[in-house]
Amino acid sequence: MSDGARMWRMARRIRNERLMSVRLKIMAPILLLFIPGMAWGFADPNILLPGGHRPDTAMEILFYASLGVVFGATMCAVLLAFDGVSKDRASGMLELRLAQPMPRTQQADALVLGFLQAIVLPVVVLMVLSIGLVGWRTGLWTTAVESAVYIVATGLILLWYVLFALLASTAAREQGTAVAFGVGVWFLFTFLWALFTTMVAYASGVAVGEANDPAWIALEGRLDLLSPNGVYHHLLETQLPTVDRGIPAWQVWLAALGWTVLPWWWLRQRMNNLVP
């Protein structure tokens, strides 16, 4: 068996185990409410958003509905992967795995891919359902490119949170620390980042209260590149011609690459130096 095949087999095993886990069954209704549920709500033909705005494209509806991914799916990714390493460390299985000749970097890759698939597969199914729901309720359909960007961007944000959770898991000696770290990072980027952005804006002399102030929009756009959730929204905004926050698409994709490569590389390094 080739190295790649061996890694995919391990990933598949992790995926199947987590897909059948009680944890995912508990989270399934949350995902159902947050992803197709939000798409259903924002696809209401009579919806009136704050400021009297009414979404006029399918992608815009999905963009608003992506809040469900940010709030629900990322949290599920963290809850699935937070004990990816620490549980094995506690049970002694990690010692057995680390003693195997399979390179540890490949073990790290298998962990990432396994946990990612476990959360991405149900989420993608629900996203496809969302696209269908939006089309059915409004008669507006996304293009193939929009759908692809929507799904790829969501896959990427889930990957980032899986990576954060696994990194925390490699550092944690017990489950409580691992979950606290994973949820802490999620909380930081999901809720506290707005506070951080506001504080930076205030310190920079930007009018914080002015929602349409170009300086505020530009600053928020730049700072969002430093947050996975921000990059996720930037990625989706590449398909919304009416939104321009002054960040070119190549910078957004570059930031996405950075958020993918750096934590993954860090996880591989940690696995190489991991002690049971």
Binding site: R6, E17, S91, G92, L96, R97, A99, P101, M102, V275
Partner: protein
């Protein structure tokens, strides 16, 4: 049947550890550097040869560094100082990571858990070693779990989990087998079967290292013994030779009813190590020609109920090797700093 007898020191050396050191990092936070750490316990400047087909008993109290040493040999922990050299078939390996395909490792305690079956759990590890399914099934049978192959891990007893760990260690047909406290949780029958299995593997040329803080379990099983304390190797060699060097060889214990005349002991050509006597009977520990003393006792109609050689005892060994009292040894186990211990010269070329 044994592979290479205890006295066969010409057996090929498969693994050489030369001045190997691995010390665990301990947190030592400072005001401006809260993540700071310093070297703590582990193994220090340890040199050891592993012979083909030999069974080495790694003996020492809790915290002696047995598990750390096994993890270094298994390629799990890095060598911070010193060198490791493995010689398997035509290959000579210099990095611990390269040893992994040749080494089977059984950790002290693996809590096999989950809804996966026994076979599935082993298959996962087998895939990591490129081991075929056929081998997995034969190992399940070998460790006596063939009836439980489809059983979820959650349903296994502690002893069954231990057997599964043994099977996992044997997956890659290892040349070196590292067993960390393998007797924990095994019932006497399983322990006997396990000992037989280890001997059988050794007879096929597998080098086995068994760590234990219970020397009794290793009696009759090991060819050589390595005595560890505070991360340092106090002595290593064939069991009898180590006993001899520590001044603990040739000891006998006899006990009987009635009174043992003191003058009889004085006139005997034995060294009395301990003599206890009360109204119920007497007990004598001595070194020397046991048959002479026994004959003399019998000639004087002293009742002897039992007598025999004194079995090796970890506490006595440690006391003899370190020159410390038993209380000092037990208190020193967790000492974070390593200081050279009182000395027994270690000969590595035996």
């Amino acid at each position: 049947m044994r592979g290479f007898g205890p006295s066969n020191t010409m057996a090929k050396v498969v693994l050489t550890l030369d001045q190997v050191q691995h010390r665990h990092q301990q947190p030592a936070p400072r005001w401006f550097k809260p993540w700071a750490s310093r070297p703590g316990p582990g193994v220090v400047h340890l040199s050891l040869d592993l012979h083909e087909g030999a069974i080495l008993g790694l003996v020492g109290p809790n915290g002696a560094g047995k598990t750390t040493l096994l993890r270094v040999m298994a390629g799990i922990l890095p060598v911070q100082q010193g060198t490791v050299k493995g010689r398997f078939q035509s290959e000579t390996l210099h990095h611990v990571e390269d040893l992994r395909p040749w080494v089977g490792h059984m950790p002290e305690q693996v809590r096999w858990q989950g809804h996966r079956s026994v076979v599935e759990a082993l298959t996962e590890l087998a895939d990591m070693r490129n081991v075929p399914m056929k081998r997995v099934l034969s190992l399940v049978k070998l460790v006596g779990l063939s009836d439980r192959g489809d059983e979820p891990l959650n349903n296994l007893s502690q002893g069954m989990r231990q057997r599964l760990s043994i099977a996992a260690a044997l997956l890659g047909s290892p040349k070196v087998l590292l067993l960390d406290e393998p007797f924990n949780g095994l019932d006497p029958v399983a322990a006997r079967a396990f000992s037989d299995l280890v001997k059988r593997l050794a007879s096929k040329g597998v080098s086995v290292v068994i760590s234990s803080h219970m020397v009794g379990h290793l009696n009759g099983l090991i060819d050589r013994v390595a005595l560890l304390h505070q991360g340092q190797l106090l002595d290593e060699g064939p069991l009898k030779e180590v006993e001899l060097r520590l001044g603990l060889a040739g000891r006998y214990r006899a006990a009987g009813s009635g009174i043992l005349p003191e003058d009889l002991l004085r006139s005997s050509e034995v060294e009395v190590l301990e003599h206890r006597s009360d109204g119920a009977g007497w007990e004598l520990t001595f070194r020397g020609l046991a048959s002479t003393l026994v004959q003399k006792l019998m000639a004087n109609r002293v009742s002897i109920e039992r007598w025999g050689p004194v079995e090796p005892d970890l506490v006595e060994w440690l006391c003899a090797a370190t020159g410390m009292e038993v209380d000092d040894i037990s208190l020193d186990v967790q000492a974070p700093t390593m200081v050279p211990l009182a000395g027994v010269e270690v000969s590595e070329d035996e």
